[in-house]
């Protein structure tokens, strides 16, 4: 049921992109997202798309695998395209019964779909090439300056780690409970939406009960191992910016500025 989601799943290979500091990659992703919102034209998107292709190649990721990550989003992409196609006022270029396709609608639809697709690709590149640990370490470090304004940087990172640690465990448990309930005649797949939602109750209740028990036990286990928040904590893996990191950020910033100014 829950297999086959490849979107953003870490691919542990050796590559110059994998070796970059997680902070470099987080900053780069943010830059890419910003420029995707600034640019409004095919040439600009083409260039950004080429850039992303270049990064995929440098990261030694199979292109097909990366693109497959878009599949869970295909419905959203399609709806985006269709909405713009039919709902934009302008010069008519085609007619499907009561629905009118306009030139402006066509343009905007393709652009928005491209933007969304590239947005997803850019962010999935981050998680495809960065292990969850390095990602949380990087986030914690980047958020650290905001501690002074009350942002709980360490706690957020810890929450992310624990979530990542327990997602597979909870999936397994969900499947186990589902099987057990199915054996007793429960039906999760057919019936009206309201009926199906109702059928989920005997699945969700034990799942929540067990999740709270887990949380309780985990908290005690953490305390037993001297956990007392981020204060004075050290790390097994420390982060280290290298020349490659500075170079990567510099190049990307330059590219982003050029694209944003020109297009």
């Amino acid at each position: 049921m829950l297999d086959g989601i490849t979107l953003g799943q870490y691919v542990p290979t050796e590559s110059p992109i994998h070796n970059l500091d997680p902070r470099t990659k987080i900053i780069s992703s943010v830059l890419l997202i910003v420029v995707l919102f600034l640019v409004e034209g095919f040439q600009g998107y083409l260039l950004i798309g080429l850039g992303i292709l270049g990064i995929i190649a440098a990261a030694r990721l199979p292109l097909g695998f990366v693109l497959k990550g878009l599949r869970p989003l295909r419905l959203i992409l399609l709806i985006t395209l269709l909405l713009h196609l039919f709902m934009t006022e302008g010069r008519e270029i085609a007619r499907l019964g009561p629905l009118v396709v306009t030139y402006e609608g066509f343009n905007k639809g393709v652009l928005m779909t491209l933007r969304l697709g590239l947005l997803v690709l850019a962010t999935s590149l981050l998680t495809l090439t960065t292990s969850p640990i390095r990602l949380t370490d990087g986030l914690e470090d980047l958020l650290n300056p905001f501690k002074r304004v009350g942002l709980p940087a360490h706690e957020l990172a810890m929450m992310m780690t624990i979530a990542l640690r327990f997602i597979p465990t909870l999936f397994e448990e969900t499947e186990k409970i589902m099987k057990a309930q199915k054996a007793r005649g429960a039906d999760f797949e057919s019936g009206k939406l309201s009926q199906r939602a109702k059928n989920l109750v005997p699945l969700l209740v034990p799942l929540f009960v067990s999740a709270f028990r887990r949380a309780d036990e985990l908290a005690i286990a953490m305390e037993a191992r001297c956990y007392r928040g981020g204060e004075g904590r050290t790390k097994l893996h420390t982060l280290q910016m290298t020349r490659a990191d500075y170079l990567a950020i510099l190049l990307l910033t330059a590219g982003v500025i050029v694209i944003a100014v020109v297009f």
């Binding site: 640990i133 640690r165 985990l218 191992r225």
Partner: protein, 281 residues
């Protein structure tokens, strides 16, 4: 043998949500020497976990005192020292692993203690080698077997360089193979590194491996002694609804039937050789 754990007249009452007091421990006194392997048995609700949690200050005494390596656990300044010296391993292997890889999880304790990175690396590698999990260092913990997860949990405790490990029913959720793995690992630690061990279990054959067995009943220590002494008290144990290792029970019955067999037998070979001698003679 120097004294590592000392519990004196310990009582502990929980306050339930309805405001009632549940007395889980009643005047428990106990000493554990450095390097000793002590097993605690007793049926559900007899207070084993409550006692265990007092040994590293997860719970504090309602009355009485607990000393760890001479440190009073109820003194707030001693809290982290106490928790570093007494490591805890819990029953559910899934609910005590925090991190997304094995090595990060083992590093969790030393990270909390503020140990420098290079030293953490060293401790993690050593601890994983001791529990024979080195090859799994960079794997996520969720697809390990139960026995492997418990060994990772033990490594996580070892990386804090404790003097004592308290294991609260560490084998209860494991298959026989996993149980063996975990018990062997802890026995080896006890024999080779003189690690002090408090092993809580409801498997009597595990308790039979200890230097000393404590039987708990309604918040008290009901029987205490060497495994031979404790398990030879078959009738009392039955009254407490506890099992006795099969061999011991057989020896007990033979002894009662008038055969000159000591009722303190724990291992099958011993009984077999005695019986063979008797039959031959």
């Amino acid at each position: 043998m120097s004294r590592l754990l000392e519990v004196r007249d310990l009582t502990h009452s929980y306050l339930t949500r309805t405001g009632e007091e549940v007395e889980a421990l009643r005047k428990v006194s106990l000493e554990v020497g450095a390097g000793e392997f002590v097993a605690i048995v007793g049926h559900n609700g007899s207070g084993k976990s409550t006692l265990a949690k007092h040994l590293n200050a997860l719970l504090l005494p309602s009355t009485g005192v607990v000393f760890v390596d001479g440190l009073d656990t109820s003194v707030p300044e001693n809290l982290w020292e106490v928790r570093q010296r007494v490591g805890m391993v819990f029953q559910n292997p899934d609910n005590q692993l925090v991190a997304t890889t094995v090595e990060e999880d083992v590093a969790f304790g030393p990270e909390n203690l503020g140990v420098p990175s290079a030293e953490i690396r060293k401790r993690v590698d050593e601890a994983l080698a001791v529990v024979e999990m080195s090859e799994f260092a960079t794997r996520p913990p969720h697809n390990l077997s139960g026995g492997q997860k418990q060994r990772v949990a033990i490594a996580g405790v070892l990386a804090m360089r404790p003097k004592c490990i308290v294991l609260d029913e560490p084998t209860a959720m494991l298959d026989p193979k996993g149980r063996q793995e975990v018990l062997r690992t802890v026995q080896r630690l006890n024999a080779e590194e003189s690690m002090t061990v408090v092993w809580i279990t409801h498997f009597m054959n595990e308790a039979a491996q200890a230097d000393r067995v404590l039987v708990m009943q309604e918040g008290r220590i009901a029987i205490e002694g060497s495994p031979r002494q404790v398990f030879s008290r078959v009738e009392e144990l039955k009254e407490l609804h506890l099992d006795v290792p099969q061999v011991t029970e057989l020896a007990f019955l033979l002894n009662k039937a008038g055969l000159p067999v000591s009722p303190e037998l724990l291992c099958e070979e011993e009984l077999v050789s005695i019986l063979v001698d008797k039959l031959a003679g």
